[in-house]
């Protein structure tokens, strides 16, 4: 893009994509903002005009709001901890030369290709079913009482399912980061008298820090919006109602579009706070 002509040509050619993406984002955003200031009950009288900030006040003062925020953060945090920790371990394991490396790597990535709805259904019916699930069989094999996962340990179960889906992503990013580590650095550390564990904490982990922040950033953005896993497993019951699920319930189950839209605006604000916060960390990490 050296000359003026090529630059304007480039702009022209990018325009359709930019306009499409912008429209795709702006139209729902403006509609959400619009409805959030109106009383709109589709089955009970439809659009009934402006209400000011009523919807916003009602959404926050609802007894379901703070538990939903808490649940959201718990799920995000839980999944992040599990995927990052296990991801690092798996990445180190997959970095070792071994027989059938290619196949193993593809198998590890596989869960990422399964749709969230499908994987949640598989977990719910195949593994976690208290009567016929594999885990129930396992528990009975050892003479224990099967756990009814999705009602007794609902939050943990959902964290487990989502972690299973996101572990491949974390592993993949961290694996490529580990592979970019100069092996001479490890050898130098070995000569300097650092045993395996110290080499991990002093050399490998600092080297991974950038990749870890990227994993955390990307996963957080997606995890704040998880929905399918909750919808097909607990349906928001047993303390698994996240912010996005609460919004869904307000709009579709209570048929209150205005209230749900106000919740949506809160979710946008929350996501942006998290994003700004994370961007700062990443920015700081990318500088050095």
């Amino acid at each position: 893009m050296a000359t003026k002509a090529s630059r304007s040509a480039a702009r022209l050619m990018m325009a359709p994509a930019v306009i499409l993406l912008l429209g795709w984002m702006l139209v729902p955003l403006i509609m959400t903002l619009w409805f959030s200031f109106r009383t709109y009950l589709p089955l009970r009288g439809g659009d009934q005009g402006w209400t000011g900030f009523d919807n916003y006040v009602r959404f926050v003062s609802s007894s379901a709001f703070w538990p939903a925020v808490q649940t959201t953060l718990l799920i995000v945090l839980g999944v992040l901890v599990i995927t990052v920790c296990l991801g690092i371990l798996l990445a180190i394991l997959l970095d070792q030369p071994m027989w059938g490396q290619g196949v193993v790597r593809i198998l590890v990535i596989a869960p990422f290709f399964v749709m969230p709805t499908v994987s949640a259904l598989v977990w719910k019916n195949m593994f976690m079913d208290p009567v016929n699930g594999l885990l129930a069989h396992l528990w009975r094999f050892f003479g224990a009482e099967p756990v009814s996962w999705l009602s007794d340990a609902s939050l943990q179960s959902i964290i487990m399912i989502v972690s299973w889906q996101w572990l491949p992503f974390a592993t993949l990013i961290l694996l490529t980061a580990i592979q970019s580590l100069d092996s001479e650095q490890l050898e130098a550390a070995e000569m300097d008298g650092a045993p395996v564990l110290k080499r991990f904490f002093y050399i490998i982990l600092p080297h991974l820090s950038r990749a870890i922040t990227i994993v955390i950033l990307i996963q957080t953005i997606f995890l704040l919006a998880i929905f399918a896993e909750i919808f097909v497993t607990t349906g928001g019951a047993f303390g698994t109602r996240t912010l996005s699920y609460l919004i869904f319930q307000r709009v579709l189950e209570s048929q209150n579009v205005g209230l749900g839209s106000a919740g949506g605006v809160y979710a946008i604000i929350l996501a942006n706070i998290v994003a700004i916060f994370l961007m700062r960390i990443v920015g700081k990490n990318l500088d050095t």
């Binding site: 650095q185 050898e187 550390a189 000569m191 002093y202 050095t288």
Partner: protein, 334 residues
């Protein structure tokens, strides 16, 4: 203290034996250079001594004690890597302190040693910078600093200057030589650059395909190469080696004469040839002479400047007392 002895050491990767049985003694305080073409096993040999690779058979002794199965950290050797292998997330100070910290040394002693090493290597102003903010030569010095604070029995250098530009390389060469004079510690230095080998070494070990071709002082190798390979490898520009009838005249299957041991005349001489490319360096001129009736073109070195043009006829006369003769196996005929 730092005598290193290799006894019948071999190394195989799978079925491929890269180091056939090899014996070598490196005396305490000696500056030994391993030199050879790429892939001759010189770096592998260094890594075997360091303990970064396990030897297949044989023994390594350091100061008379068997170190064959000793882990790298416990061998008392410090290594400087080709890529310097500095820890990018640590400051220069922390980089240099790392081996001491791993050894569990107390803070005061660490600080003392860092201050000492920094002043020796002119790094005092850079201690709080990250490696990424340093120039190539400074990084090199940090890597050396990290090695010297450990006060090792021997230093191992793995092509440490190959990433530097030409001017810096000459400077660092002198600095490393100075360092050796000051510390009097055993140093093993791997390079493919025979200029580095010639200028720095007390003892040069010439390797080819894992075999030791010759061990000796730089001048010994220059004046009395044991075989054709060493003759061709040591010296710049390369020795002119030729075979056939011409070589038999001088009493060998092959014969060699260095470019600096040929007299040039425009009127008469042993060999008559045509001037090819002339490289003028100012102090010297290298003339490539073709069509002399020998196998290859002949390179001649003339001190100072000479005005010859491409295609001129030129006469060459080798200095007979400087002629190297080799037998059918390529070994030197005394």
């Amino acid at each position: 203290m730092g005598q290193i002895t290799l006894k019948q050491v071999t190394k195989s990767f799978g079925d491929v034996q890269v180091i056939p049985p090899l014996d070598l003694t490196i005396e305490d305080g000696e500056f030994t250079v391993f030199v050879g073409p790429s892939g001759c096993g010189k770096s592998t040999l260094l890594r075997l001594i360091a303990g970064l690779e396990d030897i297949t058979t044989g023994h390594i002794e350091i100061d008379g004690k068997d170190a064959t199965d000793v882990v790298p950290a416990k061998r008392g050797l410090a290594m400087v890597f080709q890529s310097y292998a500095l820890y990018p997330h640590m400051s220069v100070r922390k980089n240099i302190a790392f081996p001491l910290k791993m050894a569990g040394m107390d803070k005061a002693e660490i600080d003392k040693r860092i201050a000492n090493a920094a002043s020796v290597l002119n790094l005092t102003d850079y201690l709080d910078r990250r490696p990424g903010q340093l120039s190539g030569g400074q990084r090199q010095r940090v890597a050396i600093g990290r090695a010297i604070v450990r006060e090792p029995a021997a230093f191992l250098f793995d092509e440490p200057l190959s990433n530097l530009d030409a001017a810096l390389r000459v400077g660092m060469r002198l600095e490393i030589s100075e360092l050796h004079e000051r510390l009097k510690t055993t140093m093993i230095y791997v390079t493919h650059d025979q200029v580095e080998a010639m200028t720095m070494a007390d003892k040069i070990v010439v390797l080819r395909a894992g075999h030791i071709e010759q061990v000796g002082s730089p001048l010994e190798l220059y004046h009395k190469p044991r075989n054709e390979f060493v003759a061709g490898f040591i010296g710049s520009p390369k020795m002119n080696i030729f075979g056939g009838v011409e070589a038999q005249k001088y009493g060998g299957v092959k014969a060699g004469i260095r470019p600096e041991h040929i007299d040039v005349s425009m009127t008469e001489g042993t060999w008559k040839g045509k001037v090819g490319v002339a490289e003028h360096l100012g102090s010297d001129t290298f003339i490539h002479v073709h069509d002399t009736g020998l196998d290859d073109m002949i390179t001649v070195r003339i001190t100072g400047d000479i005005s010859v043009r491409h295609g001129d006829t030129i006469y060459l006369t080798p200095q007979l007392d400087q002629m190297h003769k080799f037998d059918a196996q390529g070994l030197r005929i005394a």
